[in-house]
Amino acid sequence: MNTTLESPPPVKDLAGTAEKSRGKRLTIALAGNPNAGKTTLFNTLTGLRQKVANYPGVTVERKEGVWPLVPGGNAHARLIDLPGLYSLDAASIDERIARDVLTGQIAGLPAPDIIVAVVDATNLERNLYLATQLLEYGRPLVIALTMIDLAERRDIEIDVERLAQELGVPVIPVMASQRRGIDALSAAIIELAGNTGVGPGWRLSETAERELSSLAEQAGVKHARHAVLRDLYGEELPADTERRAAVELARARLSEADRNWWQEPLLARYDWIEQVTARCVRQSSNHQRPTATERIDRILTHRIFGPLVLIAVMLLVFQTIFSWASLPMDLIDKGFGTLGELLRNNMSPGLLTDLLVDGIIAGVGGVLVFLPQILLLFFFITILEDTGYMARAAFLMDRLMRGVGLHGKAFMPLLSSFACAIPGIMATRTIENPKDRFATIMIAPFMSCSARLPVYALLIAAFFSTQKVLGFVSVGALMIVSMYMLGIAVAVCVAWVLKHTILKAPPPPLVLEMPPYRVPNLLTVAQAVWSRAWLFVRRAGTVILAISIILWALVTFPRSNATDNPSATAAEVTATDTGAREGTDNTAVNQGEQGRDETGEQIRNSFAGRAGRLIEPLIAPLGFDWKMGIGLISSFAARETLVSTFSIVYNVGPDENEGSPSLIDAVRNARRPDGTPAWTPLVAVSMMVFFVLACQCMSTIAVVRRETNSWRWPLFMVSYMLVLAYVASLITFQGGRLLGFT
C-alpha cells in the first residue's frame, strides 16, 4: 500500500507562507459523505474551539471552529463543517445549505477560500462523486483520505500520488483519531491558499456542451460552470423568467435527442471517477470474502434475530434511561431544594426572595432535573448512530412504518421523542420528503416524553400504586404502559389520516446507506451529547424559566387582603418539586386550617385562580375543577409545571418551619366546595389521558415553528391535539361514569 503517512514538514518552512496570508484569516469548508469520518476530523482539527448553532431560518446544524493551522503560530483558520452530503444537486435542506455556504450566500460567512473534501478510502467511487461536484465549484480543493487502515485491511490498494495527479488536487491520507496526517493537511492548505481551483476533469457530449456554453454566454461572466450546469440539469428551474425560458428551450432540445438527457452529468461524473480509480486503485481478487460488517449483519438484520435484537436494544435503552437516571435526578432535585432553603433562610422574607426561590430556582431546577435522562438518551442515540446500527433499525422497521405511510427513517426520531419531542423533531430532518417529514413531526409529540412522567408518577402514586393485578403486576405500571400505548395508537391513526388527506403523497422512497459498523469515537460521542444537551438546556430552560416566573406572578398577584405574608405561597414551591417526584419522602403533618384558608383565598383571587374559574364550566365535563384548570393552563407552557402548580394550589403549609404535607396526600385530600373528593381514580385517568394527547409544550411549538418555517403547522398541531385530548378525556370521564367507575 502506498499510503504512507508523511512526517510533518518542518514548521519553519511553513512560517514564510503563513506570513503571507496573515492579513486575512482563511475560511475553510469541510465537506464529505455521511459516515466518511468528517466529524472525527473536525473534532481533531478544532479540539474544543468550536461552536454549534443553526443556519438562519432552518435547523440545519451550523458547526464551525478554529483550526490553528500551524501549532503555536498565528495562522488560525475558520473551519466550517458542512452537513453530511452525498451530492450537491438534490433539493434537501442540507444540500441547499451546503451549496449556499460554498457560494458565499450565507450572511456573515464568506465563500470558503479552500474546500477540504473528506473521502472514505473504503468507499472511494461514491465518495469521489461529491468531490467531483466540489471540483466543479472551481475553488481550491484538498482531499483528506480517511479510513485508509480499513481499506488496507480489505486489501484495497490506493496509489495516493497517482490519485492526486489524476484529480489534479492534493490528496492527504489522514487518521484523525491518531492525529496522523494533520500537519500534511495544514501544509497543503497553506500552500494552496490564494490559488484558483482546477475545475472538473470531465466533459459532456458535444450537444450538451454547446447548450451549456450558450446558456453561460447569455448569463454573462459571473455565471460559473457549476451554476449553468445547475440551471440546465437541476431539479428546479431558475427563478428568473427570461432565464427559465432559455433553460426550458435547451432542455426540450436535449430531451428530443435523448429521453434520459438529464442523466448525462451523473453518468459523466461516474464515468470519469471509474477511469480515475481504475488507474489508482487495485483490489485483490479475494474481496468476495464477507466483511466483518456482513458477518455482524447476519444476526442484526436477520429475519428473526434482527427484530428480537432491536426490541432488546430498545428495552435496554429505556430501562437504563429510567433506572440509571433516577439517582442523579434525585441529587439535582435535592441540590436545588437545599439551595432554595439556604437562600430563604439567609435572605429577608419578601417578594425578591420569593421570586428567586419559587420562580427562578424552582423553574431552573424543574428543567435541569430531566438533564440526566436527556443526556443518557442522547448518549445512546449517538452511540447507535455512530456504530451504524441506526440504519439497521430503519431497515428493519421500514415495512411497518410504511404501513401508516411513514418512512423507515421516522423510526428513530419517534423513538427519541419518548425522551423529548424536541430532539426527536430535530432528528426528522434526515427525512428528505417534506410531507413525510411533516407527518412525522405532527405525531412526534404523542410519544410520551419524560416531561409527562412526573405527571403520571404523581397521579398514579396518589391513586393506583398499591393495587395489583393477577397478584404481581402493579396497576400503576399497567397504567403507565397504557398511557404510552394510547399515545402510540393515536399517533398511528393520526399519521394514517394525515397521509391520506392533507399530506397525501405516494409512499416515500427509501434509499439508505447501510454504513459499515464502527467502534464509536468517544470524543465524537461526548461532543455530540454535550452540544445536543446544551441546546436542550438553553431552549427548554429559557422558556420554562420565563413561564415559572410568570406563573409565580400570576398566583401571587393581585395580593388578597387576607394574606399579607408573602412567603405563604413560597414555602410550597420549594416543596413542589421534591414533593412531586418523591412525595413519599414527606410525611403529612397537621396544618393550620387558618393558613390553608388564607392561602386558598389568595390563590382563588389571583389572576391564575380567576382564569381557572373562568374555564371551569368548559372542563367540568372532563371531571376537572378550577384548581385543576390552573394546572392545565400553566402546563400549556410545559407539562411538568402541572406538578409545581398543584404544589402551589394544594400544598398549603402557612408556617414554613413546619414540614410541608406531601403533595400526594394533598391531592388525595383535596375537596370540592360540597365536600366530595376533588380527585377520584377516574378523574386521575381522565387527566392522564388529556396529558397524553394535548400538545402542552412551548419548546415543541417553537421547534415546530422553526422546522416547518411557518406558524401554520405548529398552530394546526396545537389545535388538533387539544381537540383530540378534550374529546378523549370527555369519553374517558363520561364513559367511565356510565360504566359505574368513580
Binding site: 461514491r126 438529464w262 474481496h287 410504511r402 427509501l510 434509499v511 446507506e513
Partner: protein
C-alpha cells in the same frame, strides 16, 4: 455516454435473486428517486448484488460500488439489471 444492449435476460432489480451478481442496465424515470439512486452510484454499468431482504420482505439490501444500500422494492423495480455470469 454508456449504453447497454437489452437482452432477454434482463429483469428488474426487485426480481434479482439474493446473491446473484448483476450489472445495471438502466434506471428509469426522471424523478428525484432515480436521481438519488444514480448519485449513490447505481448507474448503468455498475455491478450490483442483492444481499438480503428485510424481515417483512421489504426493503432490500444491495451491494454496489463496495458499499451497502437499502432500498424498497418499488425503487428496485425501476432499476433494470442483467445477471453476470463469470
Amino acid at each position: 455516454m454508456m449504453t447497454f444492449q437489452k437482452t432477454p435476460n434482463d429483469s428488474s432489480l426487485a426480481h434479482l435473486p439474493v446473491g446473484v451478481q448483476a450489472r445495471v442496465i438502466a434506471v428509469a424515470g426522471s424523478n428525484a428517486v432515480a436521481r438519488r439512486l444514480m448519485e449513490m452510484g447505481v448507474v448503468p454499468g455498475a455491478p450490483v448484488r442483492v444481499i438480503k431482504t428485510a424481515p417483512l420482505g421489504d426493503p432490500m439490501e444491495i451491494r454496489v460500488r463496495g458499499y451497502h444500500l437499502a432500498l424498497r422494492r418499488t425503487e428496485a423495480q425501476t432499476i433494470t439489471v442483467t445477471a453476470v455470469t463469470d
